[in-house]
Symmetry: C2
């Protein structure tokens, strides 16, 4: 099966309005992103070099936006490994389901926002790399 | 008609997980907040004293969270006027429909996030105070 374009990790430029009062960045359900937002979370990290993530999701789609400082998001699938460096609050990184990802802060006082397509469900997580490789649909992700 | 609790502007403590890697704050659809998220936006303002908002919505519900710096949100209805000072990223200000609101930055480099219950629709805005007072349902808001 040829994956749709949404099976690929990719950077998405976000709708941005700048005027003398500042910069406003908007994300709407199923506009620029291929999912509806069910949950948002943001992570504030004091120290450079802090690692989070290190798991995949069976069905969850996410958009990661770095709001302050700099982070690196490493994405891994059975076939590929990529590193996305994020520091621009007007660009989001789309993560389709079944991509293993790791977030690492590249600066002190980093802040990043994640938009997620589902509510929290522990059963959606794959927390072990061997289990990830064994997952029947892991190979669909790129 | 007696308004439900959701007719009132109020501060909502958000679900927060802190460990050695940092602080994570989560908001899920209809969990702690009474609406589903259809749109998010964030506003980055360089200068203290910058004013935004100055309108009401006919149906939109919002949650405003200050992620960096300090802001004041003034809420006005036909009956009352309140000022909420926000600086804690673990607390959101819920705004029900039909509340006039104004955001003012109290520090340089303020950043705030807004979760909204609907996609953008210009017809949902009331941008004139006299029109607000004349709106048939304005008096329901507190």
């Amino acid at each position: 099966m040829r994956p749709t374009s949404d099976a690929r990790c990719r950077l998405i430029p976000l709708q941005t309005v700048t005027d003398s009062r500042g910069t406003l960045v908007v994300v709407e359900n199923r506009t620029r992103i291929p999912f509806r937002i069910a949950r948002i979370f943001y992570v504030s990290v004091r120290k450079k070099g802090t690692v989070r993530g290190n798991h995949a999701h069976k069905t969850l789609q996410e958009l990661i936006i770095c709001l302050n400082g700099r982070i690196a998001v490493e994405t891994r699938t059975r076939r590929s490994r990529k590193v996305f460096r994020l520091s621009d609050p007007t660009v989001g990184l789309y993560l389709p389901p079944r991509v293993w990802s790791v977030q690492r802060t590249l600066s002190d006082r980093a802040l990043y926002l994640v938009l997620a397509s589902k509510k929290y469900q522990e059963s959606d997580y794959i927390r072990d790399w061997a289990a990830y490789l064994a997952h029947p649909r892991a190979s669909h992700a790129r």
